[in-house]
Subunit: 323 residues, 2 copies
């Protein structure tokens, strides 16, 4: 006879659209127990109601520490894209002894763009005995964890090419705004220059591939360009989205090439990983990986492997598949 | 300035066709140092020469203990398909304090068919502080680790279907014999009844999917049937290979369905994973994963993650992607 393991006590930080979907999924999954939710925009309200569900008896707090005070073992930090923005939440989690699973894009490989912050988070996490991991579908899966997983049956990898094409018509409005839909080309360029526009995390995915291959890249080259709408009647001449690339270079050779297109009406949405090596591999995800539910899935799946990983700032490459 | 990590001291047990390819790959990979090779069939000969390479200065020994005596940190056990057959090698590795990475098919999930042996190996490994893992391309990757990896972006998995079609014309002669090529249907049936014919490890892959989903199956149902040659002139009426299935059942529901065809001239060789759930996923490996080099790749890739896993009998689901 086996006894069911006790439920894992989970807190959510950030009740944006992904936060609400994660809340619904946490509530629906046996073995997870929602014990706190923080989001200053909804403080004092029932977290279930904010998420469009029945009341769940958890009142949203303005601050993270209060949301963790009810014995949370893991904090799902879903509130921001930049590493610096989530440091207060990570510090609160460290103080409470809660592990952190986060969709913060830049945290997927914090060492890439913010090595000093990465060292600081790692030191904080180790001192508190907690684990911090950034994950999601992209970054966190399609363009990093999956290609690295595939590379593990190769005796030799010469080059990895990953392509993801997303029709943003099927995605949330904030995502369409983030990729510049409806802007003029000049507005797009200004938005890129001001770092308001881009898919966050693509260079981080590229850096993760280098780590997963055991060959940290010397350099990751990034480019962003607009996709211009050419279909008659649909804002012709305006921006329909973006094409972004990240190329991982080592010793003057291109080892990884990541190409992402996110645009309105993008033809043939799909994900594809091609490995040149021995054996070569050509892997197609037909229709692509649906971003929002896959992000929710990635967050929930990461909870137990994160809790099982050793203390410190980790990546999805440190997560096992079964605990 | 970083200092290169010291090389990992590797021994190989078994110099069959995969053993020889693994030997060549170990010799070619920086960071791995071949320190011993055991195979009674080639005792006293230079392991490089046996493998069709230049002499490598390592003399093949008849017994495993001697091959590990030169400070081996990991033993690559490539000598047999059944769990019982490799227990002596695992015990020798335990005595030497060497971790074990093995292509022994049934060891990929030893708990499935031989739970008592699995407990014995686990106890031996824990007592010695070593880690034991069975891996390869199938079992070990295409029909277990890969589908489980994909499931980690799903909020909900209703059912997983994995198909692998291999044209054995492109593979080694022993593999063609193992799937019954050239037999009469009666000889095929007798070979299946005597357990001489089958692809080893398919039920184990199915069981691994259950573990990876956090839902161990109540039951795994297996079937094997011959593929009968119908092309004119090519042994018509004889067996061209086999079709094998493994179905994972839980609470009366089919959760996983694995279909493997390995036959001469099989049309459209490929691997495919379909997940019914949220989100659904449909993943195609175009042309399939080439079995022999992928097995060698899987073995080499498993070395460092196995050494980093805690002591005991583990599976590929316990291996991280970067160490």
């Amino acid at each position: 006879m086996t006894t069911a393991a006790p439920s894992i006590r989970v807190a959510i930080v950030g009740l944006g659209s992904i936060g609400r979907e994660v809340l619904a999924a946490v509530r629906a999954r046996p073995g997870l127990d929602l014990v706190g939710v923080a989001d200053p925009a909804f403080a004092g309200r029932d977290a279930g109601e904010v998420s469009g569900l029945e009341p769940c008896g958890v009142t949203v707090t303005a601050d993270v520490a209060s949301a963790l005070a009810n014995g949370a073992e893991v904090a799902l930090v879903l509130s921001a894209s930049g590493v610096a923005d989530v440091i207060p939440a990570i510090e609160a989690a460290a103080a409470a002894g809660a592990d952190v699973v986060s969709t913060t894009e830049d945290l997927s490989c914090a060492d890439f763009a913010t090595p000093e912050l990465a060292r600081k988070i790692d030191a904080t996490a180790r001192a508190a005995g907690i684990t911090v991991v950034g994950t999601g579908v992209n970054p966190g899966f399609v363009m990093d964890r999956l290609p690295v997983t595939l590379s593990k049956v190769c005796v030799r990898v010469d080059r990895i090419e990953v392509t993801r094409v997303v029709d943003v018509a099927t995605r949330r409005a904030p995502l369409r705004a983030k990729v510049g839909v409806g802007l003029t080309p000049d507005e797009f360029d200004a938005g890129v220059a001001a770092r308001r526009l881009s898919h966050r995390g693509l260079p981080e995915s590229c850096a993760l591939i280098g780590i997963g291959l055991g060959r940290r890249f010397d350099r990751v080259q990034s480019t962003i360009e607009p996709v211009i709408e050419e279909r008659p009647g649909v804002l012709p001449g305006r921006v329909a989205g973006l094409r972004q690339t990240a190329i991982g270079m080592l010793g003057g050779r291109e080892i990884a090439c990541l190409r992402l297109e996110m645009s309105l009406g993008a033809p043939n949405p799909h994900d594809r990983v091609r490995i040149e090596g021995e054996p070569p591999l050509d892997v197609l995800i037909q229709g692509g990986t649906a971003g929002d539910p896959a992000t929710v899935g990635a967050v929930l799946s990461a909870i137990e492997p994160t809790m099982a990983a050793g203390p410190g700032l980790k990546t999805v490459l440190d997560l096992v598949l079964a605990v």
